[in-house]
Symmetry: C2
Subunit: 327 residues, 2 copies
């Protein structure tokens, strides 16, 4: 920058102004400085800028896994909005561990991020404390948690799960199986189990532990689950797969075994991944606002950072049941 200033015959302050608030510099000088910037191939140093001005244009995002394609639309949504506003995104995955999340929060705070997006809604006490002390805005996106750190943008996993269960009941199913990811340490899986139980109670169906299963993520899990529940002691007439690609694995298993879907067993899924609608039969599922969550999360974060809003924010983006041929 010093170099640019010399070339243009002005002070570094003027160069800085041209870059951050061009209106404050006379047109003639601005031209000269621009030319000098071009000539020098000058790339400003944001580290120095952020250090001096005490605010950065970097947002930190922590997801449980980068490999899981479910987060991809959300990440894309965040990235889109940030980019349009000249912000950068720093990403890391905590592998579902709270301790790792805490370490990442520390690392991001050390980088002086201007805000954080956390997919998890469970955090260590230390992480909460650090974030509070740092005084930066935070958005949680995993589920509409009742006690957010700061702001939330999501949908209610509880309500979505409840709605789908009631939907299956309305279709006439009476022994509705439920498969989720392990709920230990996963607020989302927990909320979905709760929604399922609440729906059963509302429908007057007795809870049946042998119809509930927790499985690790992955297609083979779904395959295993559909067999266990459809051939178990209490054969399910429909199964609600409330996690990941479990339903896809289940339908493939049915195809392999020649089981009619929904004749032998109805199948419902939780996420609107594209493939569900293309399968034979297409699978009943929920439309979740994955990309929209990312965009809105980024937007309200920027609103706060740029002083366009103040208090806590809670955005419920809802969900929608997509009834298809599999139920």
């Amino acid at each position: 920058m010093r170099d640019v200033a010399l070339r243009a015959g002005v002070s570094t302050m003027t160069v800085s102004r041209v870059l951050s608030d061009p209106g404050k510099v006379s047109a003639e000088v601005r031209q000269r400085v621009m030319a000098a910037i071009e000539a020098a191939g000058y790339v400003p140093n944001r580290l120095a800028g952020s250090l001096s001005s005490r605010h950065s244009r970097v947002i930190g995002l922590i997801v449980p896994s980068l490999e899981n394609s479910l987060f991809a639309p959300t990440i894309q949504g965040i990235s889109e909005v940030l980019r349009r506003n000249g912000y950068q995104l720093m990403v890391a995955d905590c592998g579902g561990s709270d301790a790792e999340e805490e370490a990442l929060v520390t690392a991001f705070l050390a980088q002086r991020v201007a805000g954080l997006v956390l997919h998890n809604t469970r955090h260590t006490a230390a992480a909460r404390a650090m974030i509070r002390r740092a005084g930066i805005p935070v958005v949680e996106t995993g589920t509409l948690t009742p006690k957010p750190l700061d702001m939330v943008v999501s949908y209610s996993n509880h309500e979505a799960s409840r709605a789908m269960t009631l939907h299956l009941h309305r279709l006439g199913y009476r022994r509705i199986g439920f498969v989720s990811l392990p709920a230990a340490g996963n607020n989302r899986a927990l909320a979905r189990q709760g929604g399922y139980r609440a729906a059963l109670a509302e429908a007057g169906l007795p809870p049946e532990p042998r119809l509930m299963l927790e499985m690790p993520p992955g297609l083979p899990s779904g395959a295993e689950a559909v067999v266990r529940l459809a051939e178990g002691p209490v054969p399910a007439d429909a199964i609600f797969f409330a996690g990941d690609v479990l339903a896809v694995g289940a339908l493939f298993e049915c195809q392999r075994r020649g089981w009619a879907v929904p004749g032998r067993v109805g199948i419902a899924a939780f996420d609107n991944i594209e493939i569900l609608g293309q399968m034979v039969p297409p699978i009943t599922t929920l439309r979740l606002p994955r990309a929209e969550i990312g965009r809105r999360a980024a937007e309200i974060l920027l609103d706060r950072i740029q002083g366009r809003s103040a208090g806590p924010v809670r955005v419920d983006l809802g969900f929608e049941i997509i009834q298809r041929a599999s139920t």
Copy 2:
């Protein structure tokens, strides 16, 4: 940090040493400083550190799309290795546009990243120049490009495509259709087309334009392609879907139409996404080292940054044909 130094009764230099090179500080003082850090809840400012030391611990990654789950394993691999070494990852997507990539490169250089990972192997002249002037190491990962900017970690899209085409020929197929993503501006799609053509020539099959198709990504594209090629003027007896999830969409379409696979048409895919192996029938495809590419890219980048290596590096991680029931 000044606060920590006061609490511990030492200079800031000593605090800095405790954090970056504890061996240089006596055990007793180190204890005192650690305690002070703990008590003050001190989180170091990496911006200041990087500015002063002139090197950062942030790596920039630019992919064509964050939404496409094909990049997920690579990103995860990079993230894994970086994290283990105390580095952070900055991610952005350029939507396949060279100009956007250039803008992102500028933004990352402004953040003074220590290195770059670029998935694309095409770059604007300005981007190449900036990177060269910045003097930071770069790894390209999209394909084993013949003229890399600096380092490459990938597999050969040309060879992989050629191998699969020859494989289909060996299985007895003679009218092998080929579907790829639009090759304009995409070196990977281009290389795959080249490999297909080379294989045809080797096998002594005449090139047949009506057996080649370029389709946008997505399941419906695959569905459309399989119909057009299997029912076209020159009906394909096998189709090699060299991109994305095209093959999945194609198989679903066959299921819907009741076409026997491979009886009516053989189907081969390019990527080893999990679902291909679970479908009915499971789809013949290539095993590509997606995650390994990410890990190795990060490793050789860190090797260079930390001075463990110098010259250009070219890592061919190869590929493997997975023959399944669909061909």
